[in-house]
Symmetry: C2
DNA sequence: CACAATTAAGTTGTGTGCAATTGAATGGTG
DNA sequence: CACCATTCAATTGCACACAACTTAATTGTG
């Protein structure tokens, strides 16, 4: 069963559609469930990290979430406006901004405790199924990240004179 | 091994992180590869559908892609500006707008033929692995969509008087 | 035929996501 | 110590994604 280029365009469609669709479907369920908490999905991800670390510089937050300041800055401003976090420049390194939970932010955790179970139920997967899927996705992400670094055919080494 | 709520918040983090990360990693690889074609990832998805159907009303396109006019209208305008498609109101139903490939749009398909193989390589998965992942994702999407419809606790039946 | 309900696109507003740039602060190096 | 490269946030610009609303056309019903 060889796969001529023409068929590949169809098969490929299935793969990217599937991931794209799953991602947005997940987002949709989170949106519904998180509405009670007044959080968006990405904001919830930030809160999850903060609930585990209490206080973090924006940089570290970005590393945990794979997001840069371009995304985090406005998002954190909204969380601050909502009274869930405060941001203040670090005393030791004035370049760094530390994000800290307010008491309100800490308190929200209690109401968030029910979220994971509702999500898990919504997936229709059991614990093992979720674990397996997560493993596949992580493997995929690792491979894709490595490939993304290797791909850029338009960005050569860039030394050799200059 | 019971899982108290406190642990769930951690486990959950893993799941949504994984999917979120995988989705964006995929997007990143597509971005790099599609740059040659001058397409974004969502635009590529639209083109894939059009390469199979040649001409479709916006509504049908949205059903294939699970996207609404709010997303498609500006996206299609950009594809039209790029000379890949034309949009014209249907003669039979003036509400409907039909999207059709231009000869340039048809021609682009030839250059897109190499994309799926490069993507497949980037995933590091073989055909079976991809198939399995796709199956899991589709299953997940189906469950999530069903759950999203069932969830809304804030949108009761809404008949019973009124 | 008249009119309400429905349907299709488009528009508006909000919130990411990311590349590219800016500006301030820090850390070497000579 | 002076200067340059690096680092960290923030900002800007562009492109989704989606809810809510608007407008125009069509359909169903009386």
């Amino acid at each position: 069963m060889n796969t001529p280029d023409d068929d590949w365009l169809r098969l490929d469609q299935q793969i990217c559609f599937s991931l794209h669709a799953a991602s947005r479907a997940f987002n949709g369920v989170y949106r519904v469930i998180l509405k009670d908490l007044g959080l968006t999905y990405p904001q919830y991800l930030v809160m999850l990290v903060l609930w585990e670390h209490d206080e973090l510089p924006v940089k570290k937050l970005g590393e945990h979430l794979r997001l840069d300041s371009g995304t985090l800055s406005p998002l954190l401003k909204r969380l601050e406006a909502a009274g869930l976090v405060v941001r203040e420049r670090s005393a030791r390194d004035e370049r760094s901004v530390v994000v800290r939970l307010t008491s309100e932010g800490v308190a929200l955790r209690a109401r968030a405790l029910q979220v994971p179970r509702r999500i898990a139920t919504s997936t229709g997967f059991d614990a093992d199924g979720i674990r397996a899927l997560r493993a596949s996705l992580d493997e995929l992400t690792t491979a894709l990240d490595a490939a993304a670094l290797a791909q850029p055919p338009a960005a050569p080494p860039a030394d050799e004179r200059s």
